[in-house]
Symmetry: C2
Subunit: 163 residues, 2 copies
Amino acid sequence: MTLETSLIDSALRNWRSNVDRAGKLFGNLSQEQLQYEVAPGKNRLIYLWGHLTAFNDALIPLLGLGLRMCPELDLMFVLNPDRTVPAILRGEDLKVIWQETSQILWKGFSTLSVADWLQKHSAVSEEDFLREPHRNRFTVVLGRTVHIAYHVGQAKLWERVQT
Amino acid sequence: MTLETSLIDSALRNWRSNVDRAGKLFGNLSQEQLQYEVAPGKNRLIYLWGHLTAFNDALIPLLGLGLRMCPELDLMFVLNPDRTVPAILRGEDLKVIWQETSQILWKGFSTLSVADWLQKHSAVSEEDFLREPHRNRFTVVLGRTVHIAYHVGQAKLWERVQT
């Protein structure tokens, strides 16, 4: 491994372990458990899982790795707050989408060269990227790893309900 | 910037933005607000802040950047659960330690070369490092960034108390 690929390897291990942690935590909950709020008046677990799934799905085109699987997730779990959209996907659906998007991303990551990782992501213009070259694919994956951990930390609080 | 330093730059920006976010969130709370639990029966905000401060402090020797400022934080905020240690530091003390350890780390980061980042951290043996070369300084900082975000996500829930 070169120095660059070692650095990327560290970041991808970090991504993977957080994706796996989230998948395990939410994937092991029943549809009834997914209705719990992480704290009184706050988001339900099903919403957090849908939210993270929507972000993973949106990462596919953001990194130039293909089309989204389920753009309709955004209306349910990103653009609108919890409990305001009458029909949302169930846990078993999210589990499948989570697994499939994770696989698409993981496969896609392995096709990227070091130079590709440092190229702009699809939501930044050429002009902005000249001024802000840190707005690259690598930065996006680091930020999204943190985003998963942020909500997993909240979701872990559901365990209080059982004590 | 070379490819390697660009990758490191992305990771350090990510670290910095999460340290700043935590410092702002906790640093703006009163001593009274810091007594709130993030969810019923769960850790108080003061404990989470102390916990993150202890981890930042411990990162200094882990990365070979010097001695810890406050090893006594571990007894208060890492080795024992919340509410079991009678005397713990106050928010104003933690704020100072948070700022100082953040500065020590940030300065120390700038002294590390790419090869330094890929060297083992101080808690792994030479022998283990040969087998698991990903247990390097860079991996530690990525993991600690995620650790901050995990607890900041929980701490953000305190806002419910005010609604």
